[in-house]
Amino acid sequence: MRAGHIYLAIAVVLLGISFFKERQKTKEALKATLKIFYTIIPVLVFVFVLMGLIQAYVSRETIASILGQKSGILGILYAEIVGCIALFMPPAVFPFSGYLHDNGASYGSIAAFVFTAILIGITTLPLEIKFLGKRFTIARNIFTFVLAFFIALLMEVILT
């Protein structure tokens, strides 16, 4: 069973409980749901187009060849940048990291890649700005990049 189906089932059950308790509030909730959905879908389509562009122009072999041979501080920096740019749905991050590991990437580089691939995405920036504001988005992404660097460095020291 897909995670999305589980979430959807829970959502429907909660909606049922809500309807049972108070119809008027449930009606308001559904109105809010539609509004959120209508706001988010066009931005998401745009985000997916950006993802598609990266998919079309940057191959995974290229990424592996960039990250495989480098280690240390430079390796971590490269891995972070690649993680920010590359298109990866979270479930694809770890299999690809295993592939990087087999190609000679160090644990520090892999940690850096995992962190930025999950937490930073140049493709999701428009969405983050729309929902949480420019100031929040800029600060969060910069801090994440810097902190991920130091944590990756520590992990390299601990794991090797």
Partner: protein, 170 residues
């Protein structure tokens, strides 16, 4: 027409169409890859997006700001930090599925730092542990998870500091 041009949805969709058509014009094969990616990703997340939108709708009418304020607001202290640095680790989804939820939390009184900690802790991705351990081993996964909590905590402190500055860009 003027109204339509100023419409956000229209802007994003027309820009998307423009990019796809341009790539097609340059290289049909690459254009196909972009289109397929958009199509597949869209249907990949559609069910989760509908679920998240329903959660947010229910959340908006049922959860009182006072509750959020108590757990994630200014006075939430250690309890608030402990919650946002650990609980999101067990949630699933992609980055873009949690932003709308966080916007709602914020509007209901959550601190900027709590939101940032939430995103970082969410990056712990415990539901993906079977994959992580399979490809990178238990030592890597456990060390990373441990650091995620520390990472989330520091992010919270830093972003609270940013959030309290008076100037507003957004």
């Amino acid at each position: 027409m003027k109204h339509l041009l100023k419409n956000n949805a229209f802007q994003y969709l027309s820009l998307s169409a423009l990019i796809i058509l341009t790539v097609y014009g340059l290289n049909a094969e690459k254009g196909m890859i972009v289109t397929i990616t958009v199509y597949l990703t869209f249907f990949e997340i559609l069910d989760i997006m509908i679920a998240v939108s329903i959660f947010i709708g229910l959340f908006q009418v049922w959860v009182k700001p006072a509750t959020i304020e108590r757990w994630l607001g200014k006075g939430s202290g250690v309890k608030g930090f402990a919650f946002v640095c650990t609980f999101p680790i067990f949630m699933g989804g992609s980055l873009f599925t949690i932003f709308p939820l966080l916007k709602t939390l914020r509007e209901k009184g959550a601190r900027t730092g709590a939101i940032a900690s939430f995103i970082t802790a969410w990056g712990g991705k415990a539901p993906l542990l079977p994959l992580e351990t399979k490809f990178l081993g238990w030592p890597f996964a456990l060390v990373r998870l441990g650091f995620v909590v520390i990472f989330a905590f520091i992010m919270g402190l830093l972003m609270d500091w940013v959030g309290e500055k008076p100037t507003k860009l957004a």
